[in-house]
């Protein structure tokens, strides 16, 4: 009997064993790819086993960061797009969330609906007119244009999260701050943002993910290879080693590039994971 946890049959040891096993299974593909990226070219032929750990090499990474392949440029572009999208989305959704949660003005209901509208209208369909619009604004084939579009697409989710997060903060707290003479900006900085931190972090994390992982928008808007982001670079690195009709993929290069494209976002997720559940489900869980 597992009287302590009270979870009956599934409780106790079997839960620990099955749970750890499933957790390992879920991350195994990612770990396997990272391991493969650290092995020499003949690893596929000889097979990968415990003995592979004796052959670890940084050779594949040396090759992808070679100036000829130029992965460094793509990493830099991806960092710019991911951080830029995260910052724009966090600032815009915090301000909007605050306004929607605190200040009731004539059109606030309508504005909330407008801000959430992109949630039901598929943005994939808007890429055609967006490319014309960005062309008119001189933002086509630019990282800034990509950031602004990705941030807009990320807004409905983020505004929703921020409004929920800020609704959970008692309004008496900002009233107290204002009675003490704090300005609106000061109230935001010292009361709202510290208390709404799970929301802010969640919005930043998902904004970063949206910028870092985007493929479709980048495929459509970026044409100059100097501006390619990592997901786009993955497509070109994997195809440049293919002979038409006969696929010869360089597994070492591919797995190394895939690892570079995943490690930063996984690291950020692990660093911020304390917050995201709370931020995602807002006031529902407490």
């Amino acid at each position: 009997m597992s009287a302590r946890t009270g979870h009956g049959r599934l409780g106790g040891l079997s839960y620990v064993v099955v749970g750890s096993g499933l957790a390992a299974l879920a991350v195994a593909p990612i770990l396997y790819i990272m391991l493969r990226s650290l092995l020499p070219a003949d690893a596929d032929a000889t097979g990968i086993g415990p003995g592979s750990l004796l052959q670890l090499t940084a050779e594949n990474y040396r090759r992808i960061f070679d100036p000829g392949v130029g992965l460094g440029t793509y990493v830099r572009n991806s960092v710019v797009v991911a951080v830029g999208t995260a910052l724009v989305v966090t600032i815009a959704s915090t301000l909007a969330g605050y306004a929607l949660s605190r200040i009731s003005f004539m059109f606030s209901g309508g504005l909330f609906v407008l801000l959430l509208a992109p949630l039901v209208v598929p943005y994939q369909g808007l890429l055609t007119p967006l490319s014309l619009l960005l062309g008119e604004l001189g933002l086509l084939d630019s990282l800034l244009g990509l950031i602004l579009v990705l941030a807009t697409l990320q807004l409905p989710f983020s505004v929703f999260v921020m409004r929920n997060a800020l609704d959970a903060i008692p309004i008496e707290l900002d009233e107290a701050a204002q009675i003490d003479g704090a300005s609106l900006g000061r109230t935001l900085r010292s009361v709202i943002i510290p208390l709404g931190w799970p929301g802010v972090v969640t919005v930043f994390l998902f904004g970063f993910m949206a910028g870092w992982n985007d493929l479709l928008t980048s495929v459509v808007f970026l044409s100059d290879q100097q501006r390619y982001t990592l997901p786009l670079a993955l497509t070109s690195i994997s195809t440049s080693f293919q002979i038409p009709g006969l696929q010869i993929v360089d597994t070492g290069l591919l797995t190394a590039t895939a690892s570079v494209a995943t490690v930063p976002v996984i690291a950020l997720f692990l660093a911020l994971q304390r917050y995201y559940t709370k931020g995602l489900v807002g006031g529902a869980i407490r």
């Binding site: 750890s20 879920a26 593909p29 396997y32 909007a96 598929p122 494209a261």
Partner: protein, 279 residues
């Protein structure tokens, strides 16, 4: 307020209006824009390739969404308690969500390589295949491989939402039924499930529209092939708009997909409201 409203106005409302406008024109990338009336729409309804792509997306959605939601739901049951193992599982199951679909798809392509890929080696070792399966050479194989990949990649989101819903209900409710002698399956099915059905419906709505708009996995892994058999609706719009530069026609196709998605959303929201009433 201002920055969010400005962004939404410029990068959502304006393109939305422009989309409707463009769909009534012949709109090549270079050259003269001419009014087309409803010609683009007439063409779309007679376009067998578009019909095939839309049908493929619907089929993919019909298989992936229920499968993925079932996995999310079972995972939510597993991770909803508070213990170290539960939080380890939560992190592990959510991790595929944070990596990009492009990266995940390339990982899958390495894992599924004929002869040398890990999965083919495992299948061969278990005598389930000869290990030379070329997973992306036929429409059937790639369909199922991508269903599994997408479930692994996406199930974490619904898992977290359902987990939170179950935690709000609380274990006490389920525990009470245990005293009455109800087994674990009956407790989950007859007590927990009805109490979280609204959140389940929300997850269904999110999953349906997201899956109908699938692009990344097929773009990376099959390029729509062999011979267009795994082309999704969004891929077809992309190729009409940005490979063949029929921008007006692409806009009309986008309008049709948008209407399909909105239709599904409206039906869902109605159903959601109905379940809310008798709850």
């Amino acid at each position: 307020m201002a920055p969010a409203a400005l962004l939404t106005g410029v990068f959502f409302l304006v393109p939305m209006v422009l989309l409707v406008w463009m769909s009534f024109f012949h709109w090549p990338l270079l050259g003269v824009v001419r009014p087309a009336g409803v010609a683009n729409y007439v063409r779309a309804f007679g376009d067998a390739d578009f019909g095939r792509a839309l049908w493929f997306s619907l089929r993919f959605t019909a298989v992936l969404v229920p499968a993925s939601l079932l996995v999310s739901y079972l995972a939510a049951i597993l991770v909803r308690r508070s213990s170290r193992v539960a939080s380890l599982m939560r992190t592990a199951f959510f991790m595929p969500v944070v990596i990009g679909f492009a990266a995940a798809a390339y990982m899958a392509s390495v894992l599924l390589m004929p002869s040398t890929g890990l999965i083919n080696r495992i299948l061969a070792a278990l005598h389930l295949s000869d290990g030379t399966t070329s997973w992306f050479a036929t429409a059937d194989h790639s369909f199922w491989a991508i269903v599994v990949l997408s479930t692994w990649k996406g199930m974490g989101v619904a898992m977290i939402l359902l987990m939170a819903a179950m935690q709000t209900v609380g274990e006490e409710v389920v525990e009470a039924a245990k005293i009455d002698g109800a087994g674990v399956i009956r407790r989950e099915l007859h007590i927990m499930l009805p109490l979280v059905r609204r959140q389940l419906a929300l997850c269904l709505l999110l999953a349906l529209s997201g899956t109908l708009l699938t692009f990344d996995q097929f773009y990376v892994l099959t390029k729509g092939g062999p011979s267009g058999s795994t082309l999704t609706a969004v891929m077809y719009v992309h190729s009409q708009s940005f490979v063949r530069y029929n921008l007006g026609y692409g806009a009309a196709l986008s309008m049709i997909i948008t209407v399909v998605i909105l239709g599904i959303a409206v039906v869902q929201l109605r159903a959601l409201r109905a379940t809310g009433r008798d709850a």
